[in-house]
Symmetry: C2
Subunit: 305 residues, 2 copies
């Protein structure tokens, strides 16, 4: 089914154009129409163009009428421009059927849109990192993206570590799914762009952050009351950090164990999301059901369950 995919750069500048071109070629080979925003390769210091340029790119993506508006890459730049985004225009685009998709720095956009409009965006692949890879893009990522494109997706599932097995069934119904990159989300605490979600399901991932920093950020979410208001916390992948000799046994598991000791709600790990090849697509702001049976976890947003 041919879809119109609009590619834009709201965060860091694209440095390797070949990666983007490879990604575009792949999407075209899948039969889609791919439109590149005029500022997709813009560069202003670290950024894909200055703040006005990136805001304009977001608003062009919203006006594009595309089925999907996908970022080239994350990086840094969105928290700076949150006050300048025209949220009603974005919400209107989403209502007309445009699905915004991305991750990492894009977390700022997604959660700000949720805070301001309740509209749903998608945490999922970025063009460069996911479709621009050399060799074949990840199969699960592609399958989830196809679901996103078709609008036929009903949910996603993964296998929990044995230690997290649940018998009997754990169920959380009709909860708002939200979250994304922990660093970006923590940097929104206390601002008008952090969604005030009660009874939600919060998912988190991060990259290049040492466990002590992950703990400090989780502590902020905890002490700000954010974690205590959720019905479940789903942890994706936390990758690419360097342990220190100073750690002496302090590791990611220490952080997760502590988090569990502080929360009444379940904290599940292994969500296939983050700065990893195998990533699912997750609707930020959607009402979802979470079900865990044995080691099988499901997040469902379709209408037939």
């Amino acid at each position: 089914m041919k879809k119109h995919i609009y590619i834009f750069s709201p965060s860091s500048a694209v440095r390797d154009k070949a990666v983007i071109r490879r990604g575009v070629k792949r999407l075209k080979a899948l039969g889609h129409e791919v439109e590149l925003d005029e500022a997709v390769f813009a560069s202003h210091m670290r950024f894909a163009g200055d703040d006005e340029t990136r805001l304009a790119a977001i608003h062009r993506a919203a006006a594009s009428g595309a089925d999907v508006a996908m970022i080239t890459r994350g990086g840094y730049g969105l928290t700076r421009i949150l006050p300048g985004i025209r949220y009603p225009a974005v919400a209107k685009a989403i209502e007309r059927g445009t699905r915004f998709v991305g991750l990492s720095d894009f977390t700022a956009f997604q959660n700000a849109v949720l805070a301001k409009t309740d509209a749903v965006t998608w945490s999922g692949p970025a063009l460069g990192e996911d479709f621009g890879v050399e060799g074949e893009p990840d199969e699960i990522m592609q399958a989830c993206f196809e679901d996103l494109l078709s609008g036929q997706g009903e949910g996603t599932g993964w296998q929990l570590p044995a230690s997290e097995r649940r018998d009997p069934l754990l169920q959380v119904k009709q909860a708002t799914l939200w979250g994304g990159n922990l660093s970006v989300l923590a940097s929104m605490v206390g601002t008008p762009w952090l969604p005030q979600v009660t009874g939600g399901i919060l998912f988190l991932e991060d990259v290049h952050e040492h466990p002590y920093r992950i703990e400090r950020m989780l502590t902020q979410l905890l002490n700000a009351g954010v974690l205590g208001r959720q019905k479940a916390v789903l942890l994706g992948h936390f990758t690419n950090y360097k342990p220190y000799a100073h750690d002496k046994g302090f590791k990611l598991k220490t952080v997760v164990d502590r988090l569990r000791s502080q929360l009444k709600c379940p904290v599940l790990t292994g969500l296939p999301f983050g700065h990893v090849g195998t990533k699912v697509a997750l609707p930020v702001g959607a009402k979802v059901h979470l079900a865990v049976e044995g080691r099988d976890a499901f997040v469902l947003w379709g209408h037939r369950h």
Copy 2:
């Protein structure tokens, strides 16, 4: 004048005991009585003992009756235990004359004490980093610490960069001085331990943080309304970060320039504070006067100005 100095470890574990012993020797050579907390060398993973141990150390420091309670080192560990601190006991110790002094991770303690009790603590040296150095400790740091010990200090001053020269005189009167380490302070936004200071003077420093992270944290303080409520922002040193090829001209100055464009209040740089040898001692929570004349900046907390 002989003073009683109590040394304790509320954050990361001390790994190099020789540094601490050298610092103790120096303070003793200056004629002071130095008391080491029983858990000063405790080690639990990254921490100077588990949470209970470090809380007990803080409360022993508060009960010590010492003239000064000084940390061995910063690191990480205080944000975890903020809910467990008995703030009235700390405030009572301060009222009785104990001056708590430290920096970096200690920012969490200092600002939580201010938020909960209005009591004054000191941003200043840590025993290891400042008195435990090989060779002679920094002269200005020592002079400021002597002022702190004697209680005779009336303020501190520094020279601004030429571009920040003020003619005529800039004055901010009777403003609450607060702040410290930017990463630690940003991690307190949205929590009950961030002081709600209006019309204050906020000082900030950081280490190992790339300018884009510094900007992201400042943006959080800005978007949370914290910066807009201050009468001045004083920037100390931001040290020891690695620039990236990707920066393409994005640097600390870019961040400061942008901050200035977003704030009506003055943003002054060069405050001798941070992870550097030459550091002044600053009373967090005190009412101070800020005066700038030409390139000379003064923060005054004595009673004769």
